[in-house]
Symmetry: D2
Subunit: 361 residues, 4 copies
Amino acid sequence: MKSVIGKNITLALYGESHGDAIGIVVDGLPAGIKINTDFIARQLDMRKPKGKISTQRREGDQFTITSGVFNGYTCGTPLHITIPNTAHKSADYQPNLPRPSHADYAAHIKYNGFEDYRGGGHFSGRLTAPIVAAGAIAIDILKNKGITIGTHIKKCQHITDRDFENCAVDIALCNSKYFATLDETVGKQMQQHIETVGADCDSVGGVLETCVLGMPAGVGEPYFNSVESVLSQYLFSIGGIKGVQFGKGFGFADCLGSEANDAFEMCGDKVITKTNHNGGINGGITNGMPLVFRVAVKPTPSIFRQQDTVDLAAMENAKLTITGRHDPAIFHRARVVVDSLTALALLDMLVQHFGERWLCG
Amino acid sequence: MKSVIGKNITLALYGESHGDAIGIVVDGLPAGIKINTDFIARQLDMRKPKGKISTQRREGDQFTITSGVFNGYTCGTPLHITIPNTAHKSADYQPNLPRPSHADYAAHIKYNGFEDYRGGGHFSGRLTAPIVAAGAIAIDILKNKGITIGTHIKKCQHITDRDFENCAVDIALCNSKYFATLDETVGKQMQQHIETVGADCDSVGGVLETCVLGMPAGVGEPYFNSVESVLSQYLFSIGGIKGVQFGKGFGFADCLGSEANDAFEMCGDKVITKTNHNGGINGGITNGMPLVFRVAVKPTPSIFRQQDTVDLAAMENAKLTITGRHDPAIFHRARVVVDSLTALALLDMLVQHFGERWLCG
Amino acid sequence: MKSVIGKNITLALYGESHGDAIGIVVDGLPAGIKINTDFIARQLDMRKPKGKISTQRREGDQFTITSGVFNGYTCGTPLHITIPNTAHKSADYQPNLPRPSHADYAAHIKYNGFEDYRGGGHFSGRLTAPIVAAGAIAIDILKNKGITIGTHIKKCQHITDRDFENCAVDIALCNSKYFATLDETVGKQMQQHIETVGADCDSVGGVLETCVLGMPAGVGEPYFNSVESVLSQYLFSIGGIKGVQFGKGFGFADCLGSEANDAFEMCGDKVITKTNHNGGINGGITNGMPLVFRVAVKPTPSIFRQQDTVDLAAMENAKLTITGRHDPAIFHRARVVVDSLTALALLDMLVQHFGERWLCG
Amino acid sequence: MKSVIGKNITLALYGESHGDAIGIVVDGLPAGIKINTDFIARQLDMRKPKGKISTQRREGDQFTITSGVFNGYTCGTPLHITIPNTAHKSADYQPNLPRPSHADYAAHIKYNGFEDYRGGGHFSGRLTAPIVAAGAIAIDILKNKGITIGTHIKKCQHITDRDFENCAVDIALCNSKYFATLDETVGKQMQQHIETVGADCDSVGGVLETCVLGMPAGVGEPYFNSVESVLSQYLFSIGGIKGVQFGKGFGFADCLGSEANDAFEMCGDKVITKTNHNGGINGGITNGMPLVFRVAVKPTPSIFRQQDTVDLAAMENAKLTITGRHDPAIFHRARVVVDSLTALALLDMLVQHFGERWLCG
C-alpha cells in the first residue's frame, strides 16, 4: 500500500509526469451511480494552469473511463480513469542536480538511482489530475446526499480572505470561481501579488480553508481512524501541503478552555453547538456541525533563481538554475485537489458507517 | 480497522476508562528484541498526572505483558500489554448531559445510546497508557538503531520555549524532564500559569514540538503514505490534538520560495540541506535531515465552570457543572504520547523499507 | 497484519500455550448487540477436550470480557476477551528436537531461535479458544439475522457420514452434539475408531463439512475477495487444515459441464438452483443457496511413537518420543472453530455489503 | 478492497470483457528490477486460447506498460499494464437469462441490475490476462532469487498425469509446454478427450498441481496469514477454482499420523524432511521443502446445450441455449494464471520477511 489508499473506496494512483499516461483505479463504488462526465471535465478544468499565475505547460487532460461504467452508470466493478501526457519536455530536467525542496534527492536515495527524474516523475503535481477526476465522482455522490464541500484561499502571505460565514452560500461561491476567494477584491490583490512574485522569479505559499456542510453526526472513529486522522492522511498526500488543522487548530494554544469549548444547545429538535471551534469533530467523530479545516501550502519549490545544490554524480557542491515551465503559486490550483481528497476520504468513512447501499439510495 | 492501525507493526487498542482493564496488542515485532520493562515503566510514569497541574485521579499503571515475550526477548508473536483500571469513580458522570467539546455527544449518536459514557469510555485519555507502553518498546528499538526522539512544550498561550538547537543534546534534555521545556525558566512560568488557570476552574492549550534525529534518507512513500500522511494519522489519534505541521508548516504561507527552499550542500561525503524548513521530508520521503514537526493541543474540555449543554433524554437545553478529577492542561502529559506514536509510526515505515529482520540486526 | 484479520470486524489474536493468558480483540462490532455469555461458554465447552478421544490437558477456559461491553450490550468500541492458561506443563517440551509436522522447526527458523517453544507457543491449538469465544458472538449475531451454521464430521478414514439433506434440521442436529455426525451410528463408529487408533499411540485425520443457511444473494466480491477467497483465508488459519473446497470441489474434476451446472428455476417468486454443486457461490458471490464447503483436517502430528527428527543444537539426526497430553484426533473439536471462523468471515462480508447498522437492525 | 489485494505488492485489477481495456496496477515493486517484456508476452501467449480445445475468441493481448518503468527498469512507483479489448461480440449475450453456474445471477443481485453483463463483464476470464502480465514480472523476480514455479494438469476426469518427481526438471518441463502434462502421452489423451467433449457441446473440469522450488524456510505467518491462507486467497480469485489443498490435502483424511508425519533428517548441513506430505508448510510457515498444492477447476459453465434458467425480467422459468465462443476446458489455460497468482502471493510474503530491498539484491 504505497500509492494506494482507502478501505471501502480504494484508490490506486499511477503515472509519471513524462510517461505515456497517468491514471487511477477507483475500486468500491457501488453500482447504479450516474457518472457526470461534464462535471469531471469541469473539475479538471479548475485544476488546470491558467493565465500568468500558473505554469505554461498546458495539458488537454482528456480523460477516458475504460471500465466500471456501463450505460452511463457505475456497474459496481473497478472504475479506471486514464489521462494521456502530451505536452512534456523532458530536456528541461537534469538528473544529477536535485532541485531544493523537491522530491528529487529523497527519491534518488529511495529508488537507488532508478527513479524517473523527468519532471519529478511520479511526484509531479500532474498526478493530482486523476485524483481530481476521481474526486469529482465523489463530490457528485456527496452532493446527492446533501453534503457539499468548498475551499477558499484564506491567506497568501500578508493578504487574507474573510472566514466562512453563511456556509451554503460561501461554498457555492468558492465552487463558482477559478481563483477562489470569498472576497473578490482580496482575490484580485492575491493574483496581482502572485504575478509580481512570479515576475521576480520567485514563488509564494498560502493557506486554504475548507468547509463541508451536511455531514451527519456520528461518522468517524476514535483514535487511529478519527476523522482528523483519515482526512489528514489524504490531505498530506498532496505535494506541498505541510500543515493541517481542524477548527481553531494551532489557535487553540492561545485559548483557555472556557473560550475554546463549544457549548451545546437545541435548535428546534436538533442538537447544535453555539460555536464551532472544534471544526465539527469531537473525539474523532463528526458532531453534525460543518467540518472546517485549513491546510498550509508551501511556496512552489521551482523558482527561476540560481540555487545551491549538489551534483549527485560527482558528489560535490553545485549551482542549479531551473528552466522550463513552473507555477509561481499552486494553492489556487491545489484547492480543487483538497476538495477531491476530502470527498474521497469522507465517502470512505460514510460507506463504513452506512454501508455501500446508502450511496445509491 | 477502527481502533487498529499499522501495516507491519499493527496495534489493536482496547478498553474503557471505567472498565476492568485497558490494553493493546502489538503484532509484528520481530523475534529477538530485548524488552526493557524498566523503560516501559519509566515512560508510563512520564505520562502520569503529577502535582497540581494534573488530574488527581492517580492510577498505578501496573502493566503486564501476557504474551509475545519469552525469556525477556520478543518471541515474534503478538505482544499483549494489559493495565488494570483501579481508581475510577463512575458516579461523577451524567449520561444525558454531554460535556462540551468532549466526545460524549458524537459517541452518543454513533453508538445509538449504547456507549460506555463513564469517564469518556473508550475516548478517555487513559487509553493513551497502553499506547505509551507499546511506544516505549518502539522508542527503545529505534534508539538501538541510532534514532532518537524528543518533544518539548513549544508554547502555552503567551509563553514560548526556544526552538531545538543542538538536536542530540536537546532531545536528551526533553527526555530527562517530566515537564519538558528546553528553557527551564520558561517551564516554570508555564507550570505557574497552568496552576493559576486551574485555580480559576479553567484549562489551557499548547503546542508541542518534536525532533527525530537519525532517520535515514529514503524512507516513506509518495502520496497516500507520505511520512506526513502516516505520522499525522497516528498523531491525530490523540484526543485533543487539532493541528499537525511539518517544518515551517503554516509559517510557509508567509514565505517566498526563495526563503523557504532548503538548499543542498555536501557535508563531508554526506548530502545535507543548509536549512531544514521542510522538517526533514521532501515529497513525502525522508531526506536525512532531522524530522521536525509540531502539534496543537487544545485546552482540556473538562473545566469546572458551569457550561451550557443539552439534556439528551429530555432533548432540551440544560446546564452542566463538571465535577470529578480533571487536568487543567494535558500537553505536558501528551508529550510522551506524541513520542510513542511517532516511534510506532516510524517503526512501521522503517520495516516497510528495510524488512523486519533489520530491527533486530 | 500477521495475527490480525478482517476489514470491518477486525480480530487481533494473541497468546502462547504456556503464557499467562491468551485472548483476542474484536474491533468493529457495532453498538447495541446483546452479548450472550452463556452461549460463549457453551461454544468453548464444545471445543474442550472430552473423554478418551481427546488430550487430557483440561483447561477451565474461564473467559473474561474486559472491554467493549456495557450493561450487557456491545458499546461499539473494541471488545477484548481474555482466557488464562492454568494447566500447562512446560517440562514436557524439548526445544532442540522439533516435532515432525508441527510448526516447531519452521518457527525456529522464522524467529531465529527466540520462539516460545513450550507447547507449540503461539501455534498451539489452545489459541482457537479465543477464536471460538469471538466466533460465538458472531454466530449469535448471524442467528438473529436468520443465518445459521452447522458443521459435521463427514469422514474419518474409511468411515463416512451422510450428506446434509434437510439443511435447517441437520444444522440444528450438528449444533446439538459434541461429536457431530448426522448419523448417530456413524458417530459411534468414528469415536470407537479414534479410541482404537489412540490406544495404538497413533492419530487420525478427517473431513468436516459445513452448511450455512440463510445467506442473502449478492454478498462477496469478484476476484481477490470472493467468498471462497475470504472464507479460505479464515479457514486455513486453523492449524491442521490442509484443504478447503466449495460445493463439489475436487469432485468437479470428474464431471462434465452438463452434470456440474446448477440450472436456475423459480420457486414461488424466488430464484433458486435445482442443484447446488457450486455450494451457493457463483463468481465469488453468494447466489442465495446454502453455502456448502468441506475442509480436510490432517491427523494430529503429536503421536506417542518414536519418530525421526534432528537436533537443532547439534545439527545431527535424532530420535524423538513425544510425551505429555495430546489428542488422537482434533477434527471433532475443530468443528466449532470452523463454525466460528465461518461466522466471523461472513460477518465481515455482510457488514461490507449492508453496513454496520444492519447488524443491530 | 474488492478487486485489490496485497500488502507489500498491491494489485488493483480493472476491466470488463467488452469494455475498451482491461488492466492492472502493481504498486510496491522496488526500483531497479529489469522488466522482461518478452517474458510477459510469452506468458500471455501461454494463456491464450489455441486450437480446438479453446474458445475461438482470439485477442491480440497487446499489453502496454504506461508507468513504473524507466529505461527498462522499474523506477519504484506504481506499474500500470493495460491491454485493449478488440475482439468482443456483445450481441451474443442476453441480459435477462442468467447462464447456469456463471456469475450472471449473483452479479445481477449484487449490482442491482447495473452490472455490465456483456461477456460476463468484470467476471470474464479475460481479466486473467492482466494478472498473467503482472505475474510474469513476479515469476521473473523470483527466478532471479532461485525460486521457480511449475504447474501441470494432474487430472482431467479419468485421465491422470504422474506426480512431480525431480522437481527442478519437472518444473522446467511444465513451463516448456502449452498443454502442460508431465507425461506427454497423457497430455495427448487429455487433449483428445477435451476435443471429444467439446464436439458433444459439453465441457470438462480438472485438477492442477503446482510445485514451487527454492522457497526459503521461515516465510509466512501463524493463523490468518499462513502461507495456506494467503495462497488460497489469491488462488480462489480465479473463476472456476473450487478447491485448494496443500500436500496430501484431502488425502490426509485417509491417513494415520504415523503415515502422515514428515520426519526430519539432516541432508549435509541442511534440515530436510524425508517425505513432504505437508507440501512444504508447517504451522503456516515454509519449512524449506518444495511447496506442493493442487487446485480443482470446475468444467466451463458455458456449454452449447439447452439449459434451464429463469427470465429475470419476467421472473419465470426459461430455456437458454448459449451461443458465441467458449472453451470446452479452461484448466490448461488457467495453469499460467495459477503460476502468476502464486508468484504474486509469494512475492508479497517474501517482501514482508526480507524487506523490499531484498528483491533487487
